[in-house]
Symmetry: C2
């Protein structure tokens, strides 16, 4: 199916439009996202999107769905990287959420800020959100089994922890956290501090540092 690219007039306008929208979000923000700009960026006339989306809402729903997929993929990667160390898995999963938000604030916000009004009309969006939440639940279950988290109801833990991470991210993105605070404590540090309130054992100091992407190890 991928080989079909460029087959028709454009080839894969639908996905090109989604990508264009994501680019605009990254470069100009939520308030400058319009169907006309998306079309222009994809190199088609401003009426072309209507061949693929019934209206603007539908495009946004598609963008949001893709956002959940990407977020899901990132957290899943963090989980799979640390299957043998649940504590680390827990923290890196949260950190993946923070990084996703920081790297593309407008995209993160449109994905998670419930801009889509009638969510039930977009089944793939509903599925994407459910999948992401389900994976998050699995991480929590694993941590409960490992004794990292207390044996509280998973949904209660999930909601509290998600809220903790989400709120921290939102406050930072919206410039609500004073520089006086952010100069004292890195975002990573604040995240680990928040998460450690839920953790039933001492968190090793090295987890307070942002993990390097290289493979170098000391010792």
């Amino acid at each position: 199916m991928n080989a079909k690219t460029e087959r028709y007039h454009h080839g894969d306008l639908k996905n090109a439009l989604i990508e264009a929208a994501i680019d605009i979000l990254a470069e100009e923000g939520v308030h400058d996202l319009s169907l006309r700009k998306v079309a222009a960026r994809a190199g088609v006339s401003h009426a072309a999107p209507y061949a693929h989306f019934v209206d603007k809402q539908a495009l946004i729903a598609a963008v949001s769905t893709e956002g959940y997929h990407r977020l899901d993929r990132r957290i899943r990667t963090a989980r799979n990287t640390h299957t043998d160390d649940p504590l680390r898995m827990f923290i890196e999963a949260g950190w993946a959420y923070v990084r996703f938000a920081q790297e593309d604030p407008a995209y993160f916000k449109i994905t998670l800020s419930g801009v889509v009004e009638k969510e039930e009309e977009y089944p793939s969006l509903v599925e994407a959100t459910a999948n992401a939440y389900q994976m998050f639940r699995e991480i929590i279950t694993k941590c409960k089994q490992a004794g990292i988290l207390r044996d509280d109801p998973t949904d209660l833990l999930a909601t509290g922890i998600w809220g903790s991470i989400h709120g921290l991210v939102m406050l930072v993105l919206d410039g609500q956290i004073s520089h006086l605070v952010l100069d004292q404590f890195s975002l990573r540090r604040i995240l680990v501090f928040s998460l450690s309130q839920y953790i039933q054992q001492k968190v090793p100091v090295e987890l307070y540092d942002i993990p390097s992407t290289g493979k170098a190890k000391i010792g």
Copy 2:
């Protein structure tokens, strides 16, 4: 100064415009807030606001400032009502935040979502945010002294706890929390659960219930 109402053509258009904006936020949401609607609602022509605000941003900054004042007032009330019971004070302060957001989601969002771009140009807004944060810090300090909270840096505690409450609220307002979860646990219950992660003693069960506004007491 209050007696001056109705003195001039309108009397107190500046504040009337702020109130009109708040009404529109409550009834129509953030996306339907325009200078023209605000003016119409206040009963003046659409150019009249320019006698009091240099542009739309300035009006929004004033609305946001007033939002911080109201939020501040609510939390302060919760604090003053429970000076002799720090644990309760802590939880009711958080609950005041949640209630404020729930009662007027759009107003809460515009106040806390950093819509105002050049915040430093609006000193009274900066002052309002600083005051609210300062009061929150005081509550936390009091709880540390009472042994309710651990002796971590106040700013770290403040940021973590604020993030916890804020994230929970945002996820609920944006419809991200599944009904399957909200049917199991009330928002109050989730809030107390989140806060109790920070609390260094057992939280009495009755705090899981929403406090009645009446003065009736059992026993």
